[in-house]
């Protein structure tokens, strides 16, 4: 749902797209970056995906008329772009045989510990990040959009192009799956794990830990 501050930014965008676009990026950067980071599990990929999201958004906004802008719901619209870009990347990576682990040497984008990284239990968070990476895509996406980004079910229905009831059910199943993973011991085979594919090897969770910078 568009908030009052969204409306103000959108009005400015309609008046002066180039001048107001920085404020638009700032207003939505955390949502878009968090989604990209928690979906991809890599800080370097997340930076690329999130930047590309806004570059595409700008090019689209240039073609929008005042009517289209006035009715724009920026969050679901942006996250739809983010999701598409991430899926394109997954497909491209699946087609391309890997010569080196993804993101090697590029992950230290921002070596400083974030202020909140010190405040929360980093340990629990790392395992949670690892478990998110183990969720199949059809559960990871709804859980990230709902509980990391904080979209409403109506917004999610728009992003995922399916009924709200389906969205709710998938979020609930995703959370259940996370709890099951959480309760399983580290060295036991984890229930509900998909068969290892080219991207989904046994080291996947470990990779995700390593790539996680915050």
């Amino acid at each position: 749902m568009a908030t009052p501050s969204d409306t103000a930014v959108l009005r400015e965008l309609a008046r002066d797209l180039d001048g107001a676009f920085g404020a638009f990026v700032q207003a939505h950067a955390t949502d878009v970056y968090s989604a990209a980071l928690r979906l991809s599990g890599s800080a370097a990929d997340a930076d690329d995906i999130a930047q590309d999201t806004f570059v595409r958004a700008y090019r689209a906004l240039r073609r929008f008329d005042a009517q289209r802008l006035a009715t724009l719901e920026p969050r679901p619209w942006l996250l739809t772009i983010t999701l598409n870009l991430w899926r394109n990347r997954l497909r491209a990576a699946a087609r391309r045989p890997r010569t080196a682990p993804a993101g090697t040497g590029r992950d230290a984008v921002d070596g400083r510990p974030g202020p909140e990284a010190l405040a929360v239990q980093a340990d629990a968070r790392r395992t949670l990040v690892g478990m998110l990476g183990e969720l199949p895509e059809h559960h990871r996406v709804p859980v990230v959009l709902r509980h990391v980004v904080g979209l409403s079910y109506a917004e999610m229905a728009a992003v995922l192009a399916c009924p709200e009831g389906t969205v709710k059910a998938n979020v609930a199943r995703g959370l259940d799956r996370l709890r099951t993973l959480d309760a399983a011991p580290d060295d036991a085979p984890r229930p509900g794990r998909r068969s290892p594919g080219p991207r989904r090897t046994g080291t996947r969770a470990v990779d995700t830990h390593r790539k996680e910078v915050r």
Binding site: A46, D110, H147
Partner: protein, 278 residues
């Protein structure tokens, strides 16, 4: 064969909490610093500060600027010559990003070469009116000359604010260009410098200041040099003082001594309050 541990997993505390929505919500994090600027740069919309690395009179410097003027100068060695570290430092100091510039602002290279930087535009918006007044007055000190802190204080109409002048110069965001290195102690000794006294000495020597002569005079308690042929007295680094032939030089310990002897202050270096000689 299954191990006992696999059959009966130990109870673990995190099970109940780690997958809770509140824990997931904490995975929402801001993008790295400079994210918005990077997007704007890719779209050719970035209009904020930029920076260049330039050769300076005492080593390379990073210089940040925007349309509003030059906002920062930092010796390259202070950030290990690393542009990213300079940008970090700039963000901490100003709250603004700085991206690499394609070319330096007009006149910057010439100003760094010649020590004449008065024509450049400076962005001093973050400073107090007093700090701005101190820096703009300091900008008037010609290359190759020095003035005491008290001189700056007097010239901006705050003769008692000598210590405040020193602190304002210590917070000079654009050193080297606004020449706070040309402001010295009232007794003539070279005094402090934010980037270390050796750099102050190097900057002054690079513009032809005879530091050994100034130190000798300071040690001897000489603050001014008068000419008994023109009847004018100067600070020792004034070009007029340097032109007085040795047999006509009169060393003075204070402006009171100058007044008693009937000398008038030089109009160029304004060594003391009162009517200047023309």
């Amino acid at each position: 064969m299954t191990t006992p541990r696999a059959r009966t997993p130990a109870p673990r505390a995190r099970g109940a909490t780690a997958a809770a929505p509140a824990a997931l919500r904490r995975l929402r994090v801001a993008p790295p610093a400079g994210f918005t600027e990077a997007v704007l740069e890719r779209l050719d919309l970035y209009q904020g500060d930029r920076f260049v690395r330039m050769a300076g009179p005492a080593g390379d410097v990073f210089v940040a600027f925007s349309d509003a003027g030059i906002s920062a100068v930092v010796p390259a060695r202070l950030v290990d010559g690393d542009g990213a570290r300079f940008a970090d430092r700039h963000r901490r100091a100003t709250g603004r990003a700085a991206l690499v510039a394609r070319r330096p602002p007009t006149g910057l290279a010439a100003a760094l070469r010649s020590g004449r930087a008065r024509q450049l535009r400076y962005d001093l918006a973050g400073l107090s009116p007093f700090e701005r007044a101190v820096l703009l007055k300091t900008l008037e000190i010609p290359s190759g000359e020095v003035r005491p802190y008290g001189w700056v204080a007097r010239q901006i109409g705050r003769p008692r604010a000598v210590r405040a002048v020193g602190s304002a110069l210590g917070r000079n965001p654009v050193p080297v260009l606004i020449p706070c290195h040309r402001v010295v102690r009232s007794d003539g000794h070279v005094g402090q410098y934010g980037f270390g006294v050796p750099m102050k000495q190097a900057l002054l020597r690079a513009e032809g200041v005879d530091l050994d002569r100034l130190e000798r005079l300071a040690d001897a308690g000489v603050r001014f040099i008068a000419s008994d042929s023109t009847g004018v007295f100067c600070v020792p680094s004034c070009p007029h003082a340097r032109r007085i032939r040795p047999e006509h030089q009169v060393p003075l310990r204070s402006s009171a001594d100058a007044a008693v002897a009937g000398f008038r202050p030089c109009a160029h270096c304004a060594p003391a309050p009162g009517r200047a000689a023309s």
